[in-house]
């Protein structure tokens, strides 16, 4: 009986650790490939990630690929646990709700739609001053990618 009791804490630990944590899995640059475009993820300034409630992880080489993945219907909105994008200055993955986006031809992203993300307002303003472009919200990003990549998204959808 006592030995069984001893087993209890590790068992509990295992059970608890099964819960899907809303934290991003680190991206292995040069090894992981993008779930939308298949490219190997190399640039930490533009990467993105999505986790489902079941704990499935999808990694992306660019913010436009994350948007396109959602738009193509490969994952349903109610299945999404969280989404992260790279904060351009720090290259850290942060929740999509916490950032604003910049579209600028001077900050070229791996897939050519040139979307970057910023947590801090002052970083965003500085980048906007230096590189120009347009400031977007996540909703704007979805719309922008949907318009520019209609064909790609349609193809990936079936």
């Amino acid at each position: 009986m006592r030995t069984l009791l001893l087993l209890l804490p590790p068992l509990l630990f295992i059970l608890l650790s099964c819960e899907v944590k809303p934290e991003p899995e680190p991206i292995e640059y040069g090894k992981d490939s993008c779930a939308f475009c298949l490219m190997i993820i190399a640039d930490a300034g533009f990467s993105a990630e999505l986790k489902t409630k079941k704990g499935k992880v999808f990694k992306f080489d660019s913010i436009e690929c994350l948007a396109a993945y959602i738009l193509s219907g490969k994952v349903k909105e109610e299945e999404i646990l969280a989404m992260w994008v790279a904060d351009f200055p720090t290259k850290e993955l942060v929740r999509v709700e916490e950032v604003k986006f910049l579209v600028s031809d001077k900050l070229r992203s791996p897939m050519g739609l040139n979307i970057s993300a910023f947590v801090k307002e002052e970083d965003l303003k500085e980048a906007h001053r230096n590189f120009g472009g347009k400031i977007l919200t996540w909703e704007d990003v979805l719309k922008y990618v949907g318009e520019r990549w209609r064909e790609k998204i349609g193809k990936a959808g079936h």
Binding site: Y29, G30, K31, D32, S33, C37, L38, M39, I40, A42, G45, L107, R108, M111, G112, K152, K155, A156, H158
Partner: protein, 419 residues
């Protein structure tokens, strides 16, 4: 009358002298010359001038070229960026850069700092240079009719160290020739984005961190006679139509996610006379349409080809599949592609009527590889007794295979194709 004629002659003669003098203006640069730095020489140079730069090491920060000049190195002069500067920046038409060793460009998180950068220009020629330890080596942005030939590019990347920019990086261009270069130690050896009507030939790209060649949104290009070897992942050709890939070798790209050639969203293209040797996957095909894969050799790859379900109306014919672990795999039970008249070294059929075509179809998709495409985790069972058993069952009872992929006209002999 005669006098006027003479006048005309004299005028045209003097014009001719003046013109040729202008065209052949040559300025020498060396430590004992009148001009000791390239920057000084550039200031006095007229359009069309040649700058003969003699051997020595030049540390001049960023050398900005805004005139149509020929920069010619004699005895391989070294241009050193000292880890701080973009070395050579060209913003003029008709510029030639030849015979230099360009080293140690700066690096930046924000800017693409290069050994040689050409922007918004036409008719540039970059040839016979050596580039060492630059962040990006040769970088062309918004150019027309440029040639990058016979350069030796050695990037800073070594296994386990931080990565760098690309070796030959071309963005927004038309009519470019990239020929006979050697590239190693960069992120992507050769990178094309929005480059059209261009040719990549005779290059060797090996030991780069990600791709030997990376090719996006670049329509109507040809790449031929290149060797892509031992790059981190292989070669990726993406979102492009009407590209011709001929006589290339893709070899030794080995690793979990590696492949010889990734074809992603490629339409109306041709893959012909290539050799895929010892790659995890020879070709990985996704979302491709109306592309022909003809007369290629697939030798000793993990998978010769992985054709994913959303590829359709492609033709795979007259290829040699030689000693691959798996010839073909797919993640769908349907096969909307034409696979016919290939040679499969593991085909065990017979040819009673002697027409060179096997009498029973060949099914290149093994049950196990199908299961594996849909559940990657089962790859740990590869080469296990379970899989042997599965293959045996499959051979005796072909009906268990859920996949309808078959070559109805498998060839009895290897296809002898010639370049």
């Amino acid at each position: 009358m005669e006098r006027e004629n003479w006048k005309g002659w004299a005028l045209s003669l003097s014009l001719l002298v003046w013109c040729t003098a202008g065209v052949s203006q040559t300025i020498e640069v060396c430590s004992e010359c009148e001009y000791k730095t390239i920057k000084e020489a550039l200031e006095v140079a007229g359009g069309g001038a040649s700058l003969l730069v003699h051997s020595g090491t030049y540390r001049e920060g960023t050398i900005l070229v805004t005139k149509s000049v020929k920069l010619i190195g004699k005895g391989k002069p070294v241009l050193d960026g000292e880890g701080k500067y973009e070395v050579l920046k060209i913003r003029a038409n008709n510029v030639l850069v030849e015979g230099f060793e360009i080293i140690n460009s700066g690096r930046s998180e924000l800017e693409d700092i290069a050994g040689i950068k050409v922007e918004d220009s036409e008719n540039c020629v970059i040839r016979n240079n050596t580039l060492k330890n630059n962040f990006w080596a040769i970088y062309l942005a918004n150019v027309r009719n440029c040639r990058v030939e016979n350069n030796r590019i050695l990037g800073p990347f070594k296994v386990g160290e931080a990565y760098s920019g690309n070796g030959i990086h071309i963005w927004q261009a038309k009519g470019v020739l990239v020929k006979d270069n050697y590239i190693t130690g960069h992120r992507d050896g050769i990178y094309f984005e929005f480059v059209q009507d261009s040719v990549i030939e005779g290059n060797v790209s090996e030991g780069n961190w990600r791709y030997g060649l990376h090719f996006m949104f670049s329509h109507r290009d040809i790449y031929r006679n290149n060797l892509f070897r031992k790059n981190g992942v292989g070669v990726a050709v993406m979102y492009t139509k009407e590209v011709v890939m001929r006589n290339n070798r893709f070899e030794l790209n080995w690793g979990g996610t590696s492949y010889g050639l990734l074809l992603k969203a490629i339409n109306d293209s041709l893959v012909e006379h290539n050799v895929f040797y010892k790659n995890t996957a020879g070709i990985l095909m996704d979302e491709c349409q109306r592309t022909t894969i003809r007369e290629n050799d697939f030798v000793e790859n993990g998978w010769a080809m992985r054709v994913w379900a959303n590829s359709m109306d492609n033709t795979i014919t007259r290829n040699n599949f030689l000693s691959n672990t798996f010839d073909l795999s797919t993640n769908s039970s349907k096969n909307p592609n034409r696979i016919e008249g290939n040679y499969w070294s593991s085909y065990r059929g017979y040819d009673l009527n002697g027409d060179g075509v096997g009498d029973i179809p060949y099914r290149p998709v093994k049950l196990f590889s199908y299961i594996m495409e849909n559940n990657p985790a089962v790859s740990v069972l590869i080469k296990s007794f379970f899989v042997e058993l599965l293959n045996l069952i499959e051979d005796t009872l072909p009906a268990v295979v859920p996949v309808s992929v078959e070559d109805r006209k498998p060839l009895m002999e290897k296809v002898e194709w010639r370049r």
